[in-house]
Protein backbone atom coordinates (compact mmCIF):
# COMPACT_ATOMS: atom_id res chain seq x y z
CA UNK A 1 0.00 0.00 0.00
CA UNK A 2 2.78 2.35 0.99
CA UNK A 3 4.74 1.49 -2.16
CA UNK A 4 1.84 2.00 -4.58
CA UNK A 5 0.87 5.16 -2.73
CA UNK A 6 4.37 6.60 -2.91
CA UNK A 7 4.41 5.80 -6.64
CA UNK A 8 1.08 7.66 -7.06
CA UNK A 9 2.42 10.61 -5.06
CA UNK A 10 5.49 10.65 -7.30
CA UNK A 11 3.28 10.69 -10.41
CA UNK A 12 1.24 13.61 -9.05
CA UNK A 13 4.34 15.60 -8.12
CA UNK A 14 6.25 14.91 -11.33
CA UNK A 15 3.49 14.82 -13.94
CA UNK A 16 1.09 17.16 -12.16
CA UNK A 17 -2.43 17.05 -10.88
CA UNK A 18 -3.69 15.85 -14.26
CA UNK A 19 -3.11 12.43 -12.66
CA UNK A 20 -6.21 13.05 -10.57
CA UNK A 21 -9.82 13.20 -11.73
CA UNK A 22 -10.29 16.64 -10.25
CA UNK A 23 -11.20 19.33 -12.74
CA UNK A 24 -12.12 22.99 -13.00
CA UNK A 25 -15.52 22.31 -11.43
CA UNK A 26 -14.34 19.81 -8.81
CA UNK A 27 -11.43 21.88 -7.64
CA UNK A 28 -11.51 19.86 -4.43
CA UNK A 29 -11.95 16.12 -4.39
CA UNK A 30 -11.29 13.00 -2.39
CA UNK A 31 -8.17 14.42 -0.74
CA UNK A 32 -9.79 17.50 0.79
CA UNK A 33 -12.82 15.48 1.89
CA UNK A 34 -10.64 12.88 3.63
CA UNK A 35 -8.27 15.51 5.02
CA UNK A 36 -11.16 17.24 6.72
CA UNK A 37 -12.40 13.89 8.02
CA UNK A 38 -9.11 12.74 9.51
CA UNK A 39 -8.49 16.15 11.04
CA UNK A 40 -11.93 15.97 12.68
CA UNK A 41 -11.17 12.46 13.95
CA UNK A 42 -7.74 13.64 15.10
CA UNK A 43 -9.53 16.08 17.39
CA UNK A 44 -9.54 13.20 19.87
CA UNK A 45 -5.96 14.18 20.68
CA UNK A 46 -6.52 17.74 21.74
CA UNK A 47 -9.91 17.13 23.29
CA UNK A 48 -8.70 14.22 25.40
CA UNK A 49 -5.77 16.44 26.43
CA UNK A 50 -8.24 19.18 27.30
CA UNK A 51 -10.37 16.80 29.40
CA UNK A 52 -7.32 15.38 31.16
CA UNK A 53 -5.07 18.38 31.75
CA UNK A 54 -7.58 21.22 31.94
CA UNK A 55 -10.76 19.55 33.27
CA UNK A 56 -8.73 17.03 35.30
CA UNK A 57 -10.49 13.84 34.18
CA UNK A 58 -7.62 11.65 35.38
CA UNK A 59 -9.18 8.40 34.13
CA UNK A 60 -8.31 9.51 30.60
CA UNK A 61 -4.60 9.28 31.35
CA UNK A 62 -5.06 5.68 30.21
CA UNK A 63 -5.62 6.75 26.60
CA UNK A 64 -3.92 10.14 26.31
CA UNK A 65 -0.68 8.77 24.83
CA UNK A 66 -2.54 6.82 22.21
CA UNK A 67 -4.73 9.84 21.46
CA UNK A 68 -1.68 12.06 20.98
CA UNK A 69 -0.08 9.57 18.58
CA UNK A 70 -3.36 9.29 16.66
CA UNK A 71 -3.61 13.07 16.48
CA UNK A 72 -0.04 13.34 15.24
CA UNK A 73 -0.72 10.72 12.56
CA UNK A 74 -3.96 12.38 11.45
CA UNK A 75 -2.47 15.86 11.24
CA UNK A 76 0.86 14.92 9.67
CA UNK A 77 -0.95 12.65 7.19
CA UNK A 78 -3.37 15.40 6.25
CA UNK A 79 -0.53 17.87 5.71
CA UNK A 80 1.31 15.31 3.59
CA UNK A 81 -1.72 14.91 1.33
CA UNK A 82 -2.21 18.68 1.18
CA UNK A 83 1.33 19.04 -0.08
CA UNK A 84 0.45 16.75 -2.99
CA UNK A 85 -2.94 18.40 -3.49
CA UNK A 86 -1.65 21.92 -4.16
CA UNK A 87 -0.34 22.76 -7.60
CA UNK A 88 2.86 24.39 -6.38
CA UNK A 89 3.89 22.72 -3.10
CA UNK A 90 7.21 24.56 -2.99
CA UNK A 91 5.27 27.79 -2.56
CA UNK A 92 3.57 26.65 0.64
CA UNK A 93 5.69 29.11 2.62
CA UNK A 94 4.16 32.01 0.66
CA UNK A 95 1.16 31.81 2.99
CA UNK A 96 3.45 32.86 5.84
CA UNK A 97 5.19 35.50 3.73
CA UNK A 98 2.16 37.03 1.96
CA UNK A 99 -0.69 36.08 4.31
CA UNK A 100 -4.19 37.22 3.47
CA UNK A 101 -5.62 37.82 6.93
CA UNK A 102 -9.18 37.68 5.57
CA UNK A 103 -8.81 34.11 4.34
CA UNK A 104 -9.99 31.18 6.44
CA UNK A 105 -7.33 29.09 4.70
CA UNK A 106 -4.61 31.35 6.09
CA UNK A 107 -5.97 30.74 9.57
CA UNK A 108 -6.10 26.99 8.91
CA UNK A 109 -2.51 26.94 7.63
CA UNK A 110 -1.15 28.86 10.61
CA UNK A 111 -3.08 26.86 13.21
CA UNK A 112 -2.39 23.43 11.70
CA UNK A 113 1.32 24.16 11.38
CA UNK A 114 1.55 25.37 14.97
CA UNK A 115 -0.57 22.52 16.27
CA UNK A 116 1.50 19.90 14.47
CA UNK A 117 4.52 21.37 16.25
CA UNK A 118 2.66 21.11 19.57
CA UNK A 119 1.74 17.48 18.80
CA UNK A 120 5.35 16.69 17.94
CA UNK A 121 6.44 18.12 21.32
CA UNK A 122 3.69 16.16 23.05
CA UNK A 123 4.85 13.02 21.23
CA UNK A 124 8.42 13.52 22.45
CA UNK A 125 7.93 12.46 26.11
CA UNK A 126 6.09 9.33 24.95
CA UNK A 127 9.11 8.42 22.85
CA UNK A 128 11.52 9.34 25.65
CA UNK A 129 9.74 6.94 27.99
CA UNK A 130 11.09 4.04 25.96
CA UNK A 131 13.11 1.75 28.24
CA UNK A 132 16.28 2.03 26.19
CA UNK A 133 16.07 5.81 25.85
CA UNK A 134 15.52 6.22 29.58
CA UNK A 135 19.05 4.96 30.13
CA UNK A 136 20.32 8.29 28.80
CA UNK A 137 20.20 10.70 31.78
CA UNK A 138 19.77 13.86 29.74
CA UNK A 139 16.72 12.37 27.98
CA UNK A 140 15.26 11.60 31.41
CA UNK A 141 15.72 15.21 32.52
CA UNK A 142 14.30 16.48 29.24
CA UNK A 143 11.24 14.26 29.60
CA UNK A 144 10.73 15.44 33.18
CA UNK A 145 10.91 19.07 32.08
CA UNK A 146 8.50 18.42 29.21
CA UNK A 147 5.99 16.94 31.62
CA UNK A 148 6.00 20.14 33.64
CA UNK A 149 4.91 22.17 30.62
CA UNK A 150 2.41 19.59 29.33
CA UNK A 151 -0.69 21.36 30.71
CA UNK A 152 0.50 24.56 28.99
CA UNK A 153 0.98 22.66 25.73
CA UNK A 154 -2.43 21.04 26.16
CA UNK A 155 -3.97 24.49 26.60
CA UNK A 156 -2.13 25.90 23.57
CA UNK A 157 -3.03 22.82 21.55
CA UNK A 158 -6.66 23.11 22.60
CA UNK A 159 -6.82 26.76 21.57
CA UNK A 160 -5.14 26.13 18.21
CA UNK A 161 -7.27 23.10 17.52
CA UNK A 162 -10.55 24.74 18.42
CA UNK A 163 -9.62 27.55 16.10
CA UNK A 164 -8.56 25.57 13.09
CA UNK A 165 -11.38 23.04 13.36
CA UNK A 166 -13.59 26.10 13.21
CA UNK A 167 -11.66 27.64 10.34
CA UNK A 168 -12.04 24.43 8.36
CA UNK A 169 -15.79 24.82 8.73
CA UNK A 170 -15.44 28.49 7.95
CA UNK A 171 -13.75 27.60 4.66
CA UNK A 172 -17.15 26.62 3.31
CA UNK A 173 -19.41 28.83 5.38
CA UNK A 174 -17.88 32.02 3.97
CA UNK A 175 -18.44 31.02 0.34
CA UNK A 176 -21.11 33.56 -0.48
CA UNK A 177 -20.92 32.46 -4.11
CA UNK A 178 -22.01 28.95 -3.12
CA UNK A 179 -25.47 29.18 -1.58
CA UNK A 180 -25.33 25.48 -0.72
CA UNK A 181 -22.39 26.07 1.61
CA UNK A 182 -22.88 29.68 2.66
CA UNK A 183 -24.13 30.22 6.21
CA UNK A 184 -25.07 33.14 8.39
CA UNK A 185 -23.16 33.31 11.59
CA UNK A 186 -21.89 35.25 14.53
CA UNK A 187 -19.56 38.25 14.01
CA UNK A 188 -17.04 37.24 11.33
CA UNK A 189 -17.62 33.52 11.77
CA UNK A 190 -20.24 31.58 9.82
CA UNK A 191 -22.21 28.95 11.73
CA UNK A 192 -20.14 26.18 10.13
CA UNK A 193 -17.18 27.50 12.14
CA UNK A 194 -18.89 26.47 15.39
CA UNK A 195 -20.50 23.35 13.96
CA UNK A 196 -17.16 21.96 12.78
CA UNK A 197 -15.67 22.50 16.25
CA UNK A 198 -18.63 20.77 17.89
CA UNK A 199 -18.70 17.84 15.49
CA UNK A 200 -14.93 17.36 15.80
CA UNK A 201 -14.87 17.35 19.59
CA UNK A 202 -17.92 15.08 19.60
CA UNK A 203 -16.36 12.46 17.33
CA UNK A 204 -12.74 12.77 18.49
CA UNK A 205 -13.37 10.76 21.70
CA UNK A 206 -15.47 8.26 19.71
CA UNK A 207 -12.52 7.71 17.38
CA UNK A 208 -10.20 7.18 20.37
CA UNK A 209 -12.69 4.59 21.64
CA UNK A 210 -12.81 2.80 18.27
CA UNK A 211 -9.03 2.72 17.83
CA UNK A 212 -8.41 1.60 21.41
CA UNK A 213 -10.89 -1.24 20.90
CA UNK A 214 -9.32 -2.16 17.53
CA UNK A 215 -5.79 -2.22 19.00
CA UNK A 216 -7.05 -4.25 21.93
CA UNK A 217 -8.64 -6.78 19.55
CA UNK A 218 -5.62 -7.04 17.27
CA UNK A 219 -3.14 -7.38 20.14
CA UNK A 220 -5.51 -9.61 22.17
CA UNK A 221 -4.77 -7.51 25.24
CA UNK A 222 -6.89 -5.52 27.64
CA UNK A 223 -5.58 -2.00 27.36
CA UNK A 224 -7.92 0.15 29.43
CA UNK A 225 -10.58 -0.26 32.09
CA UNK A 226 -14.20 -0.38 30.86
CA UNK A 227 -14.82 2.87 32.73
CA UNK A 228 -12.52 4.68 30.28
CA UNK A 229 -14.65 3.54 27.35
CA UNK A 230 -17.73 4.67 29.24
CA UNK A 231 -16.36 8.16 29.82
CA UNK A 232 -15.39 8.50 26.16
CA UNK A 233 -18.83 7.29 25.05
CA UNK A 234 -20.63 9.60 27.46
CA UNK A 235 -18.59 12.67 26.45
CA UNK A 236 -19.03 11.86 22.78
CA UNK A 237 -22.76 11.18 23.16
CA UNK A 238 -23.64 14.39 24.96
CA UNK A 239 -21.51 16.53 22.65
CA UNK A 240 -23.16 14.86 19.68
CA UNK A 241 -26.60 15.67 21.08
CA UNK A 242 -25.50 19.31 21.41
CA UNK A 243 -24.13 19.26 17.88
CA UNK A 244 -27.30 17.76 16.41
CA UNK A 245 -29.38 20.41 18.22
CA UNK A 246 -27.33 23.28 16.80
CA UNK A 247 -27.09 21.62 13.39
CA UNK A 248 -30.88 21.33 13.29
CA UNK A 249 -31.35 25.00 14.16
CA UNK A 250 -28.67 25.98 11.64
CA UNK A 251 -30.34 23.94 8.89
CA UNK A 252 -33.70 25.60 9.54
CA UNK A 253 -32.15 29.09 9.45
CA UNK A 254 -30.22 28.19 6.30
CA UNK A 255 -33.27 26.79 4.48
CA UNK A 256 -35.66 29.56 5.46
CA UNK A 257 -33.51 32.65 5.58
CA UNK A 258 -30.00 32.32 4.16
CA UNK A 259 -30.76 30.45 0.94
CA UNK A 260 -33.80 32.52 -0.15
CA UNK A 261 -31.74 35.68 0.31
CA UNK A 262 -29.19 34.44 -2.24
CA UNK A 263 -31.89 33.91 -4.85
CA UNK A 264 -31.54 30.13 -4.77
CA UNK A 265 -34.32 27.65 -3.99
CA UNK A 266 -33.43 25.06 -1.29
CA UNK A 267 -35.35 22.26 -3.03
CA UNK A 268 -33.07 22.65 -6.07
CA UNK A 269 -30.07 21.57 -4.00
CA UNK A 270 -31.64 18.18 -3.44
CA UNK A 271 -33.11 17.76 -6.91
CA UNK A 272 -29.92 16.16 -8.22
CA UNK A 273 -29.51 12.44 -7.70
CA UNK A 274 -27.90 10.82 -5.83
CA UNK A 275 -27.86 13.86 -3.53
CA UNK A 276 -31.52 13.81 -2.48
CA UNK A 277 -32.96 14.95 0.85
CA UNK A 278 -31.94 11.57 2.24
CA UNK A 279 -28.43 13.00 2.59
CA UNK A 280 -29.69 15.68 4.96
CA UNK A 281 -31.67 13.07 6.92
CA UNK A 282 -28.68 10.75 7.12
CA UNK A 283 -26.41 13.59 8.23
CA UNK A 284 -28.60 14.85 11.05
CA UNK A 285 -30.61 11.83 12.19
CA UNK A 286 -29.06 8.55 11.05
CA UNK A 287 -25.44 9.52 11.72
CA UNK A 288 -26.10 12.30 14.24
CA UNK A 289 -29.00 11.83 16.62
CA UNK A 290 -29.05 8.01 16.47
CA UNK A 291 -25.36 7.50 17.43
CA UNK A 292 -25.70 10.19 20.10
CA UNK A 293 -28.54 8.30 21.76
CA UNK A 294 -26.80 4.94 21.32
CA UNK A 295 -23.61 6.32 22.93
CA UNK A 296 -25.46 7.73 25.93
CA UNK A 297 -27.52 4.57 26.34
CA UNK A 298 -24.38 2.42 25.93
CA UNK A 299 -22.54 4.40 28.62
CA UNK A 300 -25.48 4.22 31.03
CA UNK A 301 -26.21 0.52 30.51
CA UNK A 302 -22.51 -0.32 30.48
CA UNK A 303 -22.96 -2.02 27.13
CA UNK A 304 -19.72 -1.93 25.18
CA UNK A 305 -21.45 -3.16 22.00
CA UNK A 306 -23.66 -0.07 22.05
CA UNK A 307 -20.71 2.21 22.82
CA UNK A 308 -18.78 0.79 19.88
CA UNK A 309 -21.75 0.92 17.48
CA UNK A 310 -22.47 4.52 18.45
CA UNK A 311 -18.82 5.48 18.04
CA UNK A 312 -18.58 3.91 14.58
CA UNK A 313 -21.77 5.67 13.46
CA UNK A 314 -20.53 8.97 14.88
CA UNK A 315 -17.23 8.68 12.95
CA UNK A 316 -19.17 7.85 9.78
CA UNK A 317 -21.37 10.87 10.46
CA UNK A 318 -18.50 13.32 10.62
CA UNK A 319 -17.14 11.83 7.38
CA UNK A 320 -20.54 12.27 5.72
CA UNK A 321 -20.73 15.89 6.88
CA UNK A 322 -17.28 16.66 5.47
CA UNK A 323 -18.24 14.88 2.23
CA UNK A 324 -21.39 16.95 1.88
CA UNK A 325 -19.57 20.22 2.54
CA UNK A 326 -16.78 19.39 0.09
CA UNK A 327 -18.25 17.34 -2.74
CA UNK A 328 -21.94 18.20 -2.76
CA UNK A 329 -21.10 21.91 -2.53
CA UNK A 330 -19.13 21.66 -5.75
CA UNK A 331 -21.56 19.30 -7.49
CA UNK A 332 -24.60 21.54 -7.10
CA UNK A 333 -24.71 23.99 -10.04
CA UNK A 334 -24.90 27.70 -9.31
CA UNK A 335 -25.81 28.92 -12.80
CA UNK A 336 -29.16 27.70 -14.12
CA UNK A 337 -27.76 26.70 -17.49
CA UNK A 338 -24.84 24.64 -16.30
CA UNK A 339 -25.13 20.91 -15.79
CA UNK A 340 -24.97 18.92 -12.58
CA UNK A 341 -21.67 17.04 -12.49
CA UNK A 342 -20.24 14.10 -10.62
CA UNK A 343 -16.70 13.13 -9.92
CA UNK A 344 -14.94 9.85 -9.24
CA UNK A 345 -11.42 9.85 -7.85
CA UNK A 346 -8.61 8.37 -9.95
CA UNK A 347 -6.53 5.44 -8.67
CA UNK A 348 -3.71 7.89 -7.96
CA UNK A 349 -5.95 9.82 -5.58
CA UNK A 350 -7.09 6.66 -3.80
CA UNK A 351 -3.54 5.24 -3.65
CA UNK A 352 -2.16 8.49 -2.22
CA UNK A 353 -4.58 8.32 0.62
CA UNK A 354 -3.96 4.63 1.15
CA UNK A 355 -0.26 5.47 1.52
CA UNK A 356 -1.13 7.90 4.29
CA UNK A 357 -3.31 5.25 5.93
CA UNK A 358 -0.40 2.79 5.68
CA UNK A 359 1.95 5.40 7.17
CA UNK A 360 -0.51 5.82 10.04
CA UNK A 361 -0.79 2.12 10.72
CA UNK A 362 3.00 1.66 10.60
CA UNK A 363 3.73 4.62 12.87
CA UNK A 364 1.03 3.57 15.33
CA UNK A 365 2.20 -0.07 15.33
CA UNK A 366 5.79 0.96 16.01
CA UNK A 367 4.64 3.29 18.76
CA UNK A 368 2.52 0.53 20.27
CA UNK A 369 5.39 -1.95 20.08
CA UNK A 370 8.13 0.21 21.52
CA UNK A 371 6.38 2.94 23.52
CA UNK A 372 4.02 2.97 26.45
CA UNK A 373 0.85 4.02 24.64
CA UNK A 374 -1.45 2.54 27.27
CA UNK A 375 0.06 3.01 30.75
CA UNK A 376 -2.30 0.49 32.38
CA UNK A 377 -1.66 -2.22 29.79
CA UNK A 378 0.76 -4.23 31.95
CA UNK A 379 -1.40 -4.06 35.10
CA UNK A 380 -4.48 -5.19 33.21
CA UNK A 381 -2.75 -8.30 31.84
CA UNK A 382 -2.32 -9.68 35.38
CA UNK A 383 -6.07 -10.21 35.86
Amino acid sequence: MLGIGLFAIGLCLIKGLNQTNMDNRFAFGLWIFLDLTVIALGAGAFFTGFLLYILRRDELRAVINSAVVLGFICYSGAILVLMVDVGQPLRAWFTFWHPNVHSMLTEVTFCITCYLAVLAIEYAPIVLRNRQLRKVPSFLVFEFELHKVMPVLAAVGTFLSFFHQGSLGGLYGVLQGRPFAYRDGFAIWPSTFFLFILSAIATGPAFVLVTTWAVSKISSKRLVQPSVYRILAMVSGWLLVTYVGFKGIDTLVWLNRTVPRTGAIPAQFYAWQPFGTWVLFAEIVLFGLVPALILIAGARRRSFALQLTGSLLACAGVALNRFVMTIQTLAVPTLKFEPFMLYWPSWQEVATFLAVAAYGVILYSLSFRYLKLFPHERDLQQY
Binding site: V86, S103, L175
Partner: protein
Protein backbone atom coordinates in the same frame (compact mmCIF):
# COMPACT_ATOMS: atom_id res chain seq x y z
CA UNK B 1 -13.47 58.79 -7.93
CA UNK B 2 -14.84 56.53 -5.28
CA UNK B 3 -13.61 54.29 -2.61
CA UNK B 4 -13.45 50.53 -3.06
CA UNK B 5 -15.48 48.40 -0.69
CA UNK B 6 -12.74 45.80 -0.50
CA UNK B 7 -9.47 47.58 -0.08
CA UNK B 8 -10.34 51.20 0.68
CA UNK B 9 -8.18 52.17 -2.28
CA UNK B 10 -9.25 54.69 -4.91
CA UNK B 11 -10.87 53.47 -8.10
CA UNK B 12 -10.48 55.75 -11.07
CA UNK B 13 -12.40 53.64 -13.51
CA UNK B 14 -14.73 50.70 -13.34
CA UNK B 15 -14.18 48.72 -16.48
CA UNK B 16 -16.69 46.10 -17.44
CA UNK B 17 -18.27 44.31 -20.37
CA UNK B 18 -21.81 44.48 -21.64
CA UNK B 19 -22.75 41.41 -23.68
CA UNK B 20 -25.84 41.47 -25.87
CA UNK B 21 -27.16 37.92 -25.79
CA UNK B 22 -29.66 38.62 -28.55
CA UNK B 23 -26.74 39.32 -30.89
CA UNK B 24 -24.48 36.46 -29.79
CA UNK B 25 -24.67 33.50 -32.15
CA UNK B 26 -22.26 31.30 -30.20
CA UNK B 27 -19.54 31.35 -32.85
CA UNK B 28 -16.77 31.26 -30.23
CA UNK B 29 -14.65 33.96 -31.87
CA UNK B 30 -14.42 35.72 -28.49
CA UNK B 31 -12.99 32.59 -26.84
CA UNK B 32 -10.48 32.05 -29.63
CA UNK B 33 -9.34 35.67 -29.71
CA UNK B 34 -9.00 35.62 -25.94
CA UNK B 35 -6.83 32.50 -26.04
CA UNK B 36 -4.56 33.94 -28.73
CA UNK B 37 -4.25 37.31 -27.02
CA UNK B 38 -3.51 35.86 -23.59
CA UNK B 39 -1.25 32.96 -24.53
CA UNK B 40 -3.72 30.31 -23.44
CA UNK B 41 -2.26 27.05 -24.79
CA UNK B 42 -4.26 24.98 -27.27
CA UNK B 43 -5.91 21.89 -25.87
CA UNK B 44 -4.08 18.63 -26.49
CA UNK B 45 -5.66 15.16 -26.56
CA UNK B 46 -5.60 14.50 -22.79
CA UNK B 47 -7.53 17.70 -22.08
CA UNK B 48 -11.32 17.53 -21.87
CA UNK B 49 -13.97 20.19 -21.42
CA UNK B 50 -13.61 19.92 -17.66
CA UNK B 51 -9.85 20.37 -17.54
CA UNK B 52 -9.27 22.80 -20.41
CA UNK B 53 -8.38 26.47 -20.19
CA UNK B 54 -10.97 28.89 -21.56
CA UNK B 55 -10.92 32.33 -20.04
CA UNK B 56 -14.03 33.05 -22.06
CA UNK B 57 -16.40 30.09 -22.16
CA UNK B 58 -19.56 30.03 -24.26
CA UNK B 59 -22.44 28.12 -22.66
CA UNK B 60 -25.40 27.03 -24.73
CA UNK B 61 -28.84 27.07 -23.11
CA UNK B 62 -32.36 26.42 -24.35
CA UNK B 63 -35.83 27.54 -23.39
CA UNK B 64 -36.93 23.98 -22.72
CA UNK B 65 -39.70 23.93 -25.34
CA UNK B 66 -40.08 21.67 -28.35
CA UNK B 67 -40.08 22.60 -32.03
CA UNK B 68 -41.29 25.01 -33.33
CA UNK B 69 -41.09 27.00 -30.05
CA UNK B 70 -37.58 25.84 -29.21
CA UNK B 71 -35.10 28.69 -28.78
CA UNK B 72 -31.39 28.79 -28.00
CA UNK B 73 -29.20 31.36 -26.29
CA UNK B 74 -25.43 31.49 -25.83
CA UNK B 75 -23.90 32.88 -22.67
CA UNK B 76 -20.25 33.92 -23.06
CA UNK B 77 -18.92 33.70 -19.49
CA UNK B 78 -15.61 35.12 -18.36
CA UNK B 79 -14.51 36.29 -14.91
CA UNK B 80 -17.31 38.60 -13.79
CA UNK B 81 -14.90 40.98 -12.03
CA UNK B 82 -16.96 41.21 -8.88
CA UNK B 83 -16.73 44.50 -7.07
CA UNK B 84 -18.14 43.87 -3.62
CA UNK B 85 -17.05 41.13 -1.21
CA UNK B 86 -15.28 39.59 -4.19
CA UNK B 87 -15.48 35.86 -3.43
CA UNK B 88 -12.06 34.91 -4.80
CA UNK B 89 -10.09 37.85 -3.39
CA UNK B 90 -11.14 37.26 0.20
CA UNK B 91 -10.40 33.54 0.21
CA UNK B 92 -6.91 33.40 -1.36
CA UNK B 93 -4.52 32.53 1.49
CA UNK B 94 -1.53 34.31 0.00
CA UNK B 95 -2.91 37.41 -1.68
CA UNK B 96 -2.47 36.02 -5.18
CA UNK B 97 -5.77 37.60 -6.24
CA UNK B 98 -6.40 41.31 -6.08
CA UNK B 99 -8.52 44.11 -7.44
CA UNK B 100 -6.73 46.80 -9.39
CA UNK B 101 -7.93 50.03 -7.78
CA UNK B 102 -7.36 51.93 -11.02
CA UNK B 103 -9.56 49.71 -13.16
CA UNK B 104 -11.69 47.59 -10.86
CA UNK B 105 -10.33 44.53 -12.65
CA UNK B 106 -9.84 41.39 -10.56
CA UNK B 107 -6.38 40.03 -11.30
CA UNK B 108 -4.60 36.77 -10.64
CA UNK B 109 -0.89 36.73 -9.77
CA UNK B 110 0.22 33.32 -11.11
CA UNK B 111 3.75 33.70 -9.72
CA UNK B 112 2.34 33.85 -6.22
CA UNK B 113 -0.44 31.30 -6.65
CA UNK B 114 -0.10 28.16 -4.53
CA UNK B 115 -2.55 26.22 -6.64
CA UNK B 116 -4.84 25.39 -3.70
CA UNK B 117 -7.89 26.12 -5.90
CA UNK B 118 -9.90 27.60 -3.02
CA UNK B 119 -10.70 30.57 -5.29
CA UNK B 120 -12.17 28.17 -7.85
CA UNK B 121 -14.42 26.64 -5.22
CA UNK B 122 -15.46 30.16 -4.18
CA UNK B 123 -16.29 31.45 -7.67
CA UNK B 124 -20.00 31.02 -8.45
CA UNK B 125 -19.40 31.60 -12.16
CA UNK B 126 -16.79 28.84 -12.63
CA UNK B 127 -14.67 31.40 -14.41
CA UNK B 128 -11.36 30.31 -12.93
CA UNK B 129 -9.20 27.69 -14.54
CA UNK B 130 -6.40 25.55 -13.19
CA UNK B 131 -3.35 24.54 -15.19
CA UNK B 132 -3.70 20.79 -14.84
CA UNK B 133 -1.02 20.27 -17.51
CA UNK B 134 2.23 21.90 -18.54
CA UNK B 135 1.45 24.55 -21.15
CA UNK B 136 2.76 23.43 -24.55
CA UNK B 137 2.40 24.75 -28.06
CA UNK B 138 2.80 22.76 -31.28
CA UNK B 139 6.18 23.28 -32.94
CA UNK B 140 6.31 26.67 -34.62
CA UNK B 141 3.21 27.96 -32.87
CA UNK B 142 5.27 29.42 -30.06
CA UNK B 143 6.19 32.17 -32.52
CA UNK B 144 2.63 33.41 -32.31
CA UNK B 145 2.87 34.02 -28.55
CA UNK B 146 2.01 37.51 -27.36
CA UNK B 147 5.23 39.00 -25.92
CA UNK B 148 3.22 41.28 -23.61
CA UNK B 149 1.62 38.41 -21.69
CA UNK B 150 3.42 35.97 -19.39
CA UNK B 151 2.83 32.29 -19.96
CA UNK B 152 1.52 30.56 -16.83
CA UNK B 153 3.08 27.44 -15.43
CA UNK B 154 1.48 24.14 -14.44
CA UNK B 155 -0.20 24.10 -11.04
CA UNK B 156 -1.57 27.63 -10.87
CA UNK B 157 -4.96 29.24 -11.43
CA UNK B 158 -5.64 31.71 -14.22
CA UNK B 159 -8.57 33.67 -15.55
CA UNK B 160 -9.72 36.68 -17.57
CA UNK B 161 -8.10 39.99 -16.64
CA UNK B 162 -9.87 42.10 -19.25
CA UNK B 163 -6.72 41.99 -21.40
CA UNK B 164 -4.48 43.64 -18.86
CA UNK B 165 -1.63 43.87 -21.38
CA UNK B 166 -3.81 45.95 -23.67
CA UNK B 167 -4.64 48.28 -20.79
CA UNK B 168 -0.93 48.70 -20.13
CA UNK B 169 -0.25 49.46 -23.79
CA UNK B 170 -3.01 52.09 -23.74
CA UNK B 171 -1.55 53.56 -20.53
CA UNK B 172 1.91 53.67 -22.09
CA UNK B 173 0.52 55.42 -25.15
CA UNK B 174 -1.19 58.00 -22.94
CA UNK B 175 2.01 58.53 -20.95
CA UNK B 176 3.99 59.02 -24.16
CA UNK B 177 1.49 61.69 -25.16
CA UNK B 178 1.90 63.36 -21.77
CA UNK B 179 -1.57 62.39 -20.56
CA UNK B 180 -2.27 61.10 -17.08
CA UNK B 181 -5.03 58.74 -18.05
CA UNK B 182 -5.68 56.59 -21.07
CA UNK B 183 -8.06 57.44 -23.86
CA UNK B 184 -10.93 54.89 -23.59
CA UNK B 185 -10.82 54.51 -27.37
CA UNK B 186 -7.32 53.01 -27.07
CA UNK B 187 -8.38 50.17 -24.79
CA UNK B 188 -10.60 47.28 -25.75
CA UNK B 189 -10.47 43.58 -25.03
CA UNK B 190 -9.69 40.89 -27.59
CA UNK B 191 -13.15 39.34 -27.18
CA UNK B 192 -14.93 42.64 -27.85
CA UNK B 193 -12.70 43.33 -30.82
CA UNK B 194 -13.17 39.89 -32.35
CA UNK B 195 -16.93 39.52 -31.95
CA UNK B 196 -18.37 39.60 -35.51
CA UNK B 197 -21.82 40.52 -34.22
CA UNK B 198 -20.51 43.37 -32.06
CA UNK B 199 -22.25 41.72 -29.12
CA UNK B 200 -19.52 42.58 -26.61
CA UNK B 201 -18.69 46.11 -25.52
CA UNK B 202 -15.97 47.12 -23.06
CA UNK B 203 -16.12 50.40 -21.24
CA UNK B 204 -15.99 52.36 -18.04
CA UNK B 205 -19.28 51.64 -16.32
CA UNK B 206 -18.95 54.83 -14.28
CA UNK B 207 -18.49 57.01 -17.36
CA UNK B 208 -21.95 58.20 -18.37
CA UNK B 209 -20.77 58.84 -21.88
CA UNK B 210 -19.44 55.34 -22.53
CA UNK B 211 -21.46 52.96 -24.67
CA UNK B 212 -21.00 50.24 -22.06
CA UNK B 213 -22.37 52.40 -19.29
CA UNK B 214 -25.44 53.30 -21.32
CA UNK B 215 -26.01 49.67 -22.32
CA UNK B 216 -25.64 48.49 -18.71
CA UNK B 217 -28.42 50.85 -17.67
CA UNK B 218 -30.85 49.37 -20.19
CA UNK B 219 -33.96 47.90 -18.51
CA UNK B 220 -33.14 44.60 -20.19
CA UNK B 221 -29.61 44.48 -18.79
CA UNK B 222 -28.87 42.15 -15.91
CA UNK B 223 -26.01 40.52 -14.09
CA UNK B 224 -25.61 36.83 -13.42
CA UNK B 225 -26.60 35.67 -9.94
CA UNK B 226 -27.20 39.28 -8.95
CA UNK B 227 -28.75 38.32 -5.62
CA UNK B 228 -25.48 36.88 -4.36
CA UNK B 229 -24.41 40.49 -3.86
CA UNK B 230 -21.01 40.17 -5.50
CA UNK B 231 -21.57 43.24 -7.71
CA UNK B 232 -20.13 41.83 -10.95
CA UNK B 233 -18.95 44.20 -13.68
CA UNK B 234 -20.07 42.00 -16.57
CA UNK B 235 -23.56 42.87 -17.75
CA UNK B 236 -25.76 40.83 -20.07
CA UNK B 237 -28.63 42.12 -22.15
CA UNK B 238 -31.58 40.38 -23.70
CA UNK B 239 -35.06 41.43 -24.72
CA UNK B 240 -36.24 37.88 -24.07
CA UNK B 241 -37.63 37.36 -20.60
CA UNK B 242 -36.81 33.64 -20.46
CA UNK B 243 -33.17 34.47 -21.12
CA UNK B 244 -33.10 36.94 -18.27
CA UNK B 245 -34.71 34.38 -16.01
CA UNK B 246 -32.12 31.83 -17.06
CA UNK B 247 -29.40 34.28 -16.18
CA UNK B 248 -30.85 34.44 -12.69
CA UNK B 249 -31.53 38.12 -12.91
CA UNK B 250 -33.44 39.53 -9.98
CA UNK B 251 -36.72 37.60 -10.40
CA UNK B 252 -38.73 40.12 -8.37
CA UNK B 253 -37.60 42.89 -10.67
CA UNK B 254 -38.54 40.88 -13.77
CA UNK B 255 -41.95 40.04 -12.35
CA UNK B 256 -42.68 43.67 -11.53
CA UNK B 257 -41.70 44.55 -15.10
CA UNK B 258 -44.00 41.81 -16.41
CA UNK B 259 -46.92 43.05 -14.30
CA UNK B 260 -46.39 46.55 -15.71
CA UNK B 261 -46.79 44.95 -19.12
Amino acid sequence: MKSSANSGAIIKRRFGLVIDLDRCNGCGACATACAVENNVPPAFPEVNERTGLTWMRVYRAENGRTFPDSRTVYFPISCQHCGHDTPCVSVCPQNAVDINPQTGVVSQIPERCLGCRYCMAACPYHARYFNWFDPTWPAGMEKTLNPDVSVRMRGVVEKCNLCHSRWQVAKAKAAAAGKQDLDPADYTTACAEACPAKAIVLGDLDDRNSEASRAAKSPNAFRLLAKLGTDPKIYYRSNREWVRRLGDADVAQIESEASRG
